[in-house]
């Protein structure tokens, strides 16, 4: 029982009963990092989330929005989905928080305090779309593993911070750099301090993009704790798991980063298409990069009953690294499509606003389907796209139900 040396047994026992579980590796939890579940607070209150968000899991915390909650151009915190892989750091010591840059491909490692980051580099703000790689997973058949996200694991917030590129140039990186990997302060679900919950990253080309930020603000305020306070890597347009929260360290690698959840089937899809339910060997799984073209109807909420035969619809569309060039809607299950009004993005990697005035020919049950086409000419499928073992990249058209009387 000497493993339980950090926290006394009685404390652990009372913690365990408060949580209704045994704290695995409880003794090995780093000091000051108690599982957040301890506070036994309502997660909606704890993270200031709207009560209509959907709670998928409370350990680790995973919640998603309903499409109509995502109507704002800049998503407010109360509607932003939560995807945690481990335990949130309970206490964040901002005074002593640092960001280190290390790895095989730095000339020599360097560490910055938060205030050095804010004062030594120019700050930039971008609206960046972040979508969970598994958004839409619940529609695949057979059901893939993981949290069963439906539609709302996506948002576009305004991020403010410094460019990763500026920091990497200040540190000095070698020509053999191929990837960056992040390391963060969250802890593994088992409490094992030698294990990271998640440590992903992006190729050096994405790291060097202007919009790739080391952010310290979201929507003009400190980043909320659940979204990565005090520092987050933000790589818009890529699976949101590439945007590491509670960021402490970035390793510049001379190989594809091999951190937790970079390998196996995590955030990977079969390199060539497979039949639904087929097993795929790890070596035939390829890392997801830019997210596919997609859209959401955010007004009206599904289930609208109208007495007029006219309806205004609107929503957002995005396409990973690409832009959306055409937005259409259909009220006859894709037999005919009509074009929507489509706005340009305020900056690259932000979602775009679309709207349309829909007219229904007669009374009855309708579905309004929305379809986006990106700058490569690729459109959203009406059916759920290629099955993959972990159910990523479901960009099938969104639809809402409408009754006209």
């Amino acid at each position: 029982m000497n493993r339980r040396k950090f926290i006394s047994k009685t404390v652990l026992a009372s913690m365990a009963s408060a949580l209704g579980m045994d704290i695995v590796f409880g003794s090995r939890l780093p000091k000051g990092l108690l599982p957040l579940g301890l506070s036994k607070q309502d997660p909606f209150e704890l993270f200031s989330k709207d009560k209509d968000m959907i709670l998928l899991n409370d350990r680790p915390y995973n919640m998603e929005a309903r499409p109509h909650q995502l109507d704002d151009d800049i998503t407010p915190n109360e509607y932003i989905f939560v995807r945690n892989n481990g335990l949130i750091p309970n206490e964040v010591d901002v005074e002593n928080w640092t960001l280190s840059i290390d790895g095989e491909s730095v000339i020599s490692p360097k560490t910055y305090t938060l205030s050095e980051l804010k004062t030594r580099f120019t700050s930039h703000s971008y609206q960046l779309t972040l979508e969970c790689g598994g958004n839409g997973r619940s529609e695949f058949d057979p059901p893939p593993k993981g949290n069963q996200w439906s539609l709302g694991a996506v948002y576009c917030a305004k991020w403010t911070g410094v460019r990763l590129k500026d920091i990497l140039e200040d540190v000095g990186i070698k020509s053999d750099a191929v990837y960056i990997g992040y390391h963060a302060a969250d802890s593994h679900l088992s409490g094992d301090p030698t294990k990271e919950a998640i440590s992903r990253g992006v190729p050096i080309s994405k790291a060097m993009m202007e919009e790739t930020l080391i952010a310290y603000q979201m929507n003009d305020q400190d980043i909320p704790l659940v979204h990565g306070y005090p520092l987050r890597l933000v790589a818009g347009g890529w699976p949101a798991s590439a945007s590491g929260k509670w960021l402490e360290r970035i390793s510049v690698r001379n190989i594809v980063h091999d951190g937790e959840k970079m390998g196996g089937t995590s955030y990977r899809v079969p390199c060539s298409p497979v039949a639904p339910g087929e097993s795929v060997a790890d070596e035939n799984m390829c890392i997801i990069e830019s997210m596919p073209v997609k859209s959401l109807i955010t007004y009206p909420k599904t289930g609208a009953m109208i007495s007029d035969k006219k309806l205004s619809i609107r929503g957002h569309t995005w396409a990973g690294e690409n832009s959306v060039i055409k937005m259409e809607y259909s009220i006859d299950f894709g037999s005919t499509w009509k074009e929507c009004d489509l706005k340009k993005a305020p900056n690259r990697l932000a979602w775009q606003r679309f709207s349309a005035e829909v007219e229904f020919p007669q009374e009855g049950y309708y579905e309004v389907w929305a379809k986006a086409t990106d700058s490569d000419g690729v459109s959203q499928p009406m059916l759920v796209p290629g099955w993959n073992p972990k159910g990523y990249l479901n960009n099938a058209c969104h639809r809402i139900a409408v009754k006209v009387s």
Binding site: S17, F25, E139, M305
Partner: protein
């Protein structure tokens, strides 16, 4: 009758022989256990036994706090009350909540694959005989549903939209 000094001496010899013998036996036992530990340091072959009813059980197992069942559902965890539930709660709710387990619907092969993934990468222990109990419980009570390429919109909450 008082024993002669000689008899007393041989009695003591017997005692010493006995002691040496028992020390030897203890030592052999110890070496045996040590030898086993080299091949199976976590004593995984005994884990089923420890999990079942020993006080010295796996310290990572989650506790079943309450036995309250309403309409066939274990209230505390939301699991369907059926054979294998207790082993599932004990082994599968220590790291993450039961909702992650309940939300996933797989066949036997894919459940075993998921368990292996957690064992290889997420610190899940060897489940011993409980593996079959747990997989049977999950496959029986949470079978995959066929939903096809695109399902109908369901559970629509209809409301009057004013403009």
């Amino acid at each position: 009758m008082k024993s002669s000094p000689k008899k007393e001496f041989s009695n003591q010899l017997d005692l010493i022989n006995g002691l040496i013998l028992s020390i030897f036996v203890v030592l052999l036992l110890f070496l045996g256990v040590l030898g086993y530990a080299i091949f199976d340091p976590s004593f995984s072959r005994f884990s089923g036994f420890f999990n079942a009813d020993s006080d010295e059980k796996n310290e990572f197992l989650a506790e079943v706090e309450s036995e309250e069942v309403v309409d066939g559902i274990h209230v505390e965890t939301g699991f369907i009350d059926a054979p294998g539930m207790v082993a599932t709660i004990q082994n599968c709710t220590g790291c993450h909540s039961s909702s992650l387990v309940i939300a996933n619907r797989m066949n036997e092969e894919r459940w075993i694959e998921t368990i292996r993934w957690m064992q290889e990468t997420q610190n899940l222990w060897d489940l011993g005989e409980n593996e079959k109990v747990i997989v049977d419980y999950l496959v029986t009570n949470y079978p995959p549903k066929k939903i096809g390429r695109r399902a109908n919109l369901e559970n629509i909450e209809w409301y009057e939209l004013e403009d």
